[in-house]
Symmetry: C2
Subunit: 281 residues, 2 copies
């Protein structure tokens, strides 16, 4: 019970301790280095064990390397513990001292990227809807830029410190705009689900049985398939083949975003003027 509640403070304390320790170690290493330069070792002595690695293994360094790996490669599959170990000049097993799991590593990567990429404006009640839209658009930009984030995010309740800060900020904006509590809470979830799923479905994860292909190619193929469908059986799909597979992503995104915001705004105004059950009128 108290175990899992401790982890942020535990992590903070551990981080402080680790930082101090590392500074001391760095000083010691500098001294040793100097000595070694002054008095050469016999050449048959083995080279220092950690030949290739510059930075020592740290939680942060591991997350750094993971992000580097993901940015370089394509898709979440680019990140494996083995490759990550290689990137850091060590084996996969060594990582498990600093990170419980691959799952936990992904948690950390996710939170790191939220913190770096998703700053939040202070709530300005008058234009809260515009603010929310801006936030969602910004999020979608990030998700299109780094599609793997959608893959990490999609089944993950955001509980890291940066994610919490972000959630807190969005909640503040919604409530400042007059959205009642329940709807504000649901709204945050709805928004994040929306832009994550949107990015995932249109960009990240378009699976197809025939190997690698860019999303546009897949959609183009589907478009051709829709066009070739027998019109008497699939009149609507045939008619709307273009709209189904080709529509401008920004417009499409905006369509759903508007709907969500309209829903939130309706809840806000219903709360402001609660006359006679506005529902099921």
């Amino acid at each position: 019970m108290s175990e899992e509640m401790q982890w942020p403070t535990r992590a903070a304390k551990a981080a402080a301790k680790r930082a101090a320790r590392e500074a001391a170690r760095e000083a010691a290493r500098a001294l040793r280095e100097e000595v070694r330069r002054a008095v050469p070792e016999p050449p048959w002595w083995s080279a220092p064990r950690r030949g290739g690695r510059q930075a020592p293994l740290t939680r942060d360094a591991i997350v750094d390397a993971a992000v580097r790996l993901l940015d370089r490669g394509e898709g979440l599959d680019s990140l494996s513990m083995r490759r990550l170990g290689e990137e850091l000049g060590t084996g996969p097993g060594s990582l498990y001292w600093h990170v419980r799991n691959k799952e936990e590593l992904l948690d950390l990567v996710f939170d790191r990227l939220i913190g770096e990429q998703l700053p939040l404006p202070a709530p300005k009640p008058a234009r809260w809807q515009q603010q929310v839209k801006d936030i969602a658009r910004r999020a979608l930009d990030v998700l299109f830029e780094r599609p793997y984030i959608a893959e990490i995010s999609i089944g993950r309740f955001p509980v890291g410190p940066n994610a919490l800060e972000w959630t807190e900020g969005v909640l503040a904006i919604l409530r400042a705009g007059g959205v009642p509590d329940r709807e504000a809470a649901w709204g945050v979830h709805l928004l994040t689900t929306y832009f994550t799923a949107f990015a995932f479905e249109t960009q990240t994860g378009l699976k197809t049985p025939e190997g690698e292909a860019r999303p546009e190619e897949i959609l183009e193929r589907i478009h051709a398939h829709f066009h070739a469908l027998p019109r008497e059986r699939f009149p609507n799909i045939a008619d709307l083949a273009d709209e189904l597979t080709r529509g401008d992503m920004d417009e499409r995104f905006e369509f759903g975003l508007d709907a969500i915001l309209a829903g939130l705004a309706a809840a806000a105004s219903a709360a402001r003027a609660p006359r006679k059950r506005p529902r099921r009128g």
Copy 2:
């Protein structure tokens, strides 16, 4: 170019051919069986090669077994080519004659389940909104019953025959209700994305670093974590901890569903009475 456009007809032809072939083989087998029963073989002869398997390996039989496996186990991980082979009394390699890929297998499973589980009503223009809601609720029911479907569906453009029929039906309902073309096309996508992502996020895929856990447990833990947060830094999350983690799923689902439908309805009425640019007024 013509390669990939052929696949539906190719599949259809292949299916017909295979069916005919199989019928013939079945007849032959029956005859052989009869002969064998009449004239007993010497007991030292080896048993027929395919000892354990009753049904011959077929695309359909494979999909059957895959669904069986997924229903029995929990999560998409329950389905591996090895286990599937075992279920069918053979090795994993044999499956690849009938199925190009695991990806393709999942395509087939997905489409099979759509066909079985998602019948569609004929469009009744007067109550199109109600119809759409019913469809979405039905879909969510199915997704909650078989959570792995969400996992399969989430990055997959539905192009199988049953999926097409479903899409066609929903499009028909929307257009019959007066929703203009673009919005109808986007609406189908929006709806499927919504209920799939909703099911996935609340039921299927809640990942957590600490091993297996039911969704409710995870949410309960998060709830405790939110309650323990410093109130001066996270006032909104602390206030809304309940709403963020505990809300009744049906109500929550309805909230987003209403928003989507309101958006579609707005598009429909705007198209019906197109006075003076209803947007950005």
